[in-house]
């Protein structure tokens, strides 16, 4: 899911390198990368899907420990994330005006069983991601590779002709259209080598053939996954993975609150553990009064935008005056407190998030952090409304509900009655991205899929993204804005494109389809034995590949 769990960057345009939270301590730690020890990772997930075709994993988290791709991300404290070669010798050479991309594999690459990694395995890995039986992964390449729209995978559909492997070291991709961000695409899980002989689609999720520094030792459904060293992995061929711990254990299904409390307590094995999930607000408070834990808390920079989406195609919300009234009525301060206060994020007024190149700061509805109730009432009166009754669709966990209530009570002040409808995550996703649009309000958060203004605007506000799985959840349709977006997408000059995105940002907010609430920050906790634990500016998740244990 884009919205809550993992987020993926798809562009070479990088965020600014500011990284206040990762202070001098981390840098000192990162100097040494000790080997050995057992690292424990506490996660709320109950299963880990290691099948590259089905995975939506970030390059720097779980799958990256076991599986290598053509390219990967180099994420380090204080530096912008970069796409770097992994199995390939470079990030790709393009020809044919960006429609053909060629990669060459490094020397001395082999799987855990000792057999060599070939370009045919990568081709096969990509091909199998087209099989309907193995759907569920990141599939951006499926729409870009020539012939991808018709291809049904290797089990029934033969080979995909737009991928060529002239020899065991070389692989060539032919695209339908030029695509400058292809080096990022091949960092996705589907570009992991899968030896055809070892491919059992039924068990590959638990028994992938390891190419990274670790292989799976045991997989206990629902409780734990243990990784051990892959003896055939050669550090010389790998620039991003430090492979510190001897053993890595994922404890699955851990309640985030309990996990955070364990990490605060920092006892026993938990000293060599970190939490994969955000630290909940209550534990953020707890950390403040615990100097030891405070040192072990790592908070990212302001990143993803949390916003209130107004369904612009529903009843009174069709009226722009009403929507503007909501802009004034919302209590962003309360929302910020419900999100964990100052550590939860900064008050937001724009759509493009800080750190994205070309962002312009502005505030179209200057109401202060707590809103301007009088102004809201006035606008409602202008719209001919004395009262409003709206439903707010929210996910059914205490954090989401707390945030929903913050919105609820804010709007209440202006006479807008909000009924919260809690639902399970998937139900919420289906409803807001479905075609029916049966909701008035919903709180959402968006980490740009591309750390480019494009990623902030296009998926959320282009009219083509309404329903059918799209994330235009305010169901905002404005021909003028659509035109601006198309123009910006087509623009090859970065500076010009940024100006166009900034223009679109303001233009959209004059129609008030969403209320920007805060730019969220993510906080993570680790045990005292863990070092090289940092959360970069983008993506705002810890880099598993570099974590090591004090020896």
């Amino acid at each position: 899911m884009i919205r809550r769990t993992a987020a993926v960057a798809l562009t070479a345009l990088l965020t600014l390198a500011a990284c206040g939270a990762n202070s001098a301590d981390d840098k000192k730690e990162s100097e040494g990368s000790a080997k050995g020890g057992k690292l424990t990772i506490l996660t709320a997930q109950t299963d880990i899907n290691f099948d590259p075709a089905k995975s939506q994993n970030l390059a720097i988290t779980t799958l990256g420990l076991v599986l290598r791709r053509l390219t990967t991300w180099d994420v380090q404290p204080g530096k912008p994330a970069q796409v770097v070669p992994d199995l390939a010798t470079d990030t790709g050479t393009s020809s044919d005006g960006g429609k053909t991309w060629t990669y060459t594999l490094k020397d001395g690459l082999s799987y855990a069983d000792g057999s060599p990694i070939t370009s045919k395995d990568i081709k096969y890995g990509v091909e199998r991601s087209f099989a309907p039986e193995l759907s569920g992964g990141l599939g951006y390449h499926k729409g870009l590779l020539a012939g991808g729209d018709k291809y049904k995978g290797p089990y029934t559909g033969g080979e995909l002709s737009s991928i060529e492997t002239p020899d065991d070291k070389t692989i060539v991709f032919h695209l339908d259209a030029a695509y400058g961000d292809w080096p990022w695409i091949v960092s996705m899980p589907a570009f992991t080598p899968v030896p055809k002989a070892k491919d059992d689609p039924k068990t590959y999720t638990q028994k992938p053939v390891a190419s990274g520094p670790y292989e799976i030792e045991t997989y206990q459904q629902g409780s734990a996954v243990t990784l051990k060293r892959n003896p055939k992995w050669d550090a010389k061929t790998d620039t991003v993975r430090t492979a510190g711990p001897d053993q890595i254990v994922f404890q699955l299904g851990q309640d985030t609150t309990v996990a955070a409390q364990r990490l605060i307590a920092d006892a026993g094995d938990d000293r060599n553990a970190f939490g994969a999930g955000f630290v909940p607000p209550a534990q953020l408070v707890q950390v403040q009064s615990n100097p030891s834990a405070k040192q072990r808390l790592v908070t990212s920079d302001a990143g993803a935008l949390a916003y209130l989406a107004l369904n612009t195609q529903r009843g009174p919300l069709k009226d722009v005056k009403v929507r503007q009234a909501v802009e004034y009525a919302v209590d962003k301060k309360a929302f910020q407190v419900a999100s964990g206060g100052a550590t939860g994020g900064d008050i937001a007024t724009t759509l493009i998030t800080p750190g994205i190149a070309g962002r312009q700061d502005y505030d179209l509805y200057p109401a202060g952090p707590s809103g301007d109730v009088a102004k809201a009432k006035q606008l409602l009166a202008e719209a001919g409304r004395t009262s409003l009754d709206l439903t707010l669709l929210s996910e059914n966990d205490s954090d989401s509900l707390a945030k929903a209530q913050a919105i609820q009570q804010g709007l209440q002040r202006a006479g807008i009655k909000v009924t919260i409808k809690p639902a399970e995550e998937s139900t919420v996703t289906d409803t807001i991205t479905g075609d029916k649009g049966d909701y008035d309000l919903t709180v959402s958060s968006w980490q740009p899929d591309f750390p480019s203004a494009n990623g902030n605007i296009q998926p959320l506000f282009q009219s083509s993204e309404i329903g059918g799985g799209g994330y235009n959840i305010s169901r905002y349709s404005q021909p003028e804005v659509d035109k601006l977006i198309e123009q910006a997408l087509a623009e090859t000059d970065a500076t010009k494109a940024q100006a166009l995105w900034a223009q679109a940002d303001k233009r959209i907010l004059t129609d008030a389809p969403v209320v920007p609430l805060i730019y969220t920050k993510n906080s993570f906790l680790h045990g005292s034995g863990v070092q090289n634990f940092f959360v970069a500016a983008f993506p705002a998740y810890p880099n598993y590949l570099k974590v090591s244990l004090k020896q």
């Binding site: 609150t257 409390q261 909940p280 607000p281 209550a282 534990q283 953020l284 408070v285 707890q286 403040q288 009064s289 209590d331 301060k333 309360a334 407190v337 419900a338 964990g340 206060g341 100052a342 550590t343 707590s370 439903t391 669709l393 059914n396 966990d397 205490s398 509900l401 707390a402 929903a404 209530q405 913050a406 609820q408 009570q409 804010g410 209440q412 009924t419 919260i420 409808k421 809690p422 639902a423 399970e424 139900t427």
Partner: protein, 302 residues
């Protein structure tokens, strides 16, 4: 024992009930809680807060209540809710409404269905009884929590959630009482006065009205009293799991669920709603115990 102990003079059940100190204490607590529930808006307005308004001034920057004991002060008697600053006293007092409403409402439904099923199954017997008993047995052990969660997801947003809860908890809560009532009905069926009435030509309606229901009444009352705390507990458990009464309507279970995360930084946030829930359950249990002892014809005989 067949030892011929002379009959003790029969005392009125109410007098026996009043002689039971614990039952009286339980009954008094229930009364007080009922009053609190009814007068919740009044009580919280005396204190000067409602359970919905945020008070960010009562919190520090991180969202933790300012001051000791979770922000207990003359202004906020029970302190405030972390992250929102809403008044905990108002929440607890209004939460009593939710708990009692759902508890009593669901019990009424469960008792109505349970008595209907139990009496008819016991009265008619035969295959009718076998089918109903089987349904009862299966439902008695059914993982209904799952169904409730799912129903919460599919019910339209406009459908009042409290009513849904009352209905669902009630609909799954009847098998226990149906069993008891069925057993009693079958026992009554063997009693001579019932047989005599049938032999006199009394119809089903007359027998049920005249002989069965009056003799089942004390069982039903006792069972209903003993069921209420279970129902209140179910509502709280559902709210705890996040599928109960939707926010911001105050509910003890939900507050307890939220407070768990805060227990190390703000224990009072857990103490007040937790104590309230415990107290009301305890009170109903004590009262129910006393009522059973007072109404049970066997203890009356001894």
């Amino acid at each position: 024992m067949v030892v011929d102990i002379p009959l003790a003079p029969a005392r009125h059940p109410l007098r026996r009930l009043l002689a039971d100190r614990w039952a009286v204490a339980g009954g008094a607590t229930i009364l007080v809680l009922l009053l609190v529930a009814v007068a919740a808006p009044l009580l919280s307005s005396v204190e000067g807060h409602d359970p919905y308004t945020y008070d960010l001034s009562a919190l520090d920057d991180s969202g933790k209540p300012l001051g000791r004991g979770g922000g207990i002060s003359g202004d906020h008697w029970f302190g405030v809710e972390p992250m929102t600053g809403r008044d905990l006293f108002a929440i607890v007092v209004h939460g009593a409404r939710t708990s009692l409403l759902v508890g009593v409402g669901a019990t009424l439904i469960a008792v109505a269905i349970g008595v209907l099923v139990g009496v008819t199954a016991g009265y008619f017997g035969g295959w009718f009884d076998r089918v109903l008993s089987r349904i009862t047995d299966v439902l008695l052990g059914f993982p209904w929590l799952v169904f409730v969660i799912a129903l919460g997801a599919i019910a339209p947003a406009r459908f009042p959630k409290q009513l849904l809860l009352v209905l669902v908890i009630g609909l799954f809560g009847w098998p226990g009482i149906a069993r008891v009532v069925r057993g009693q009905t079958m026992a009554l069926k063997q009693r001579t006065f019932v047989v005599a009435s049938a032999a006199l030509g009394a119809g089903t309606g007359h027998q049920l009205r005249r002989h069965y229901l009056p003799n089942l009444m004390s069982t039903i009352i006792v069972y209903a009293t003993m069921t209420i705390p279970g129902m209140i507990g179910s509502e709280a458990a559902l709210s705890f799991l996040g599928v109960g009464v939707p926010p911001p309507t105050p509910a003890w279970g939900r507050t307890i669920g939220e407070a768990i995360a805060w227990v190390q930084t703000d224990p009072m946030f857990l103490v007040f709603p937790g104590a309230a829930l415990f107290l009301v359950t305890l009170a109903f249990n004590l009262f129910g115990d006393g009522l059973r002892d007072a109404l049970d014809p066997r203890t009356a005989k001894r």
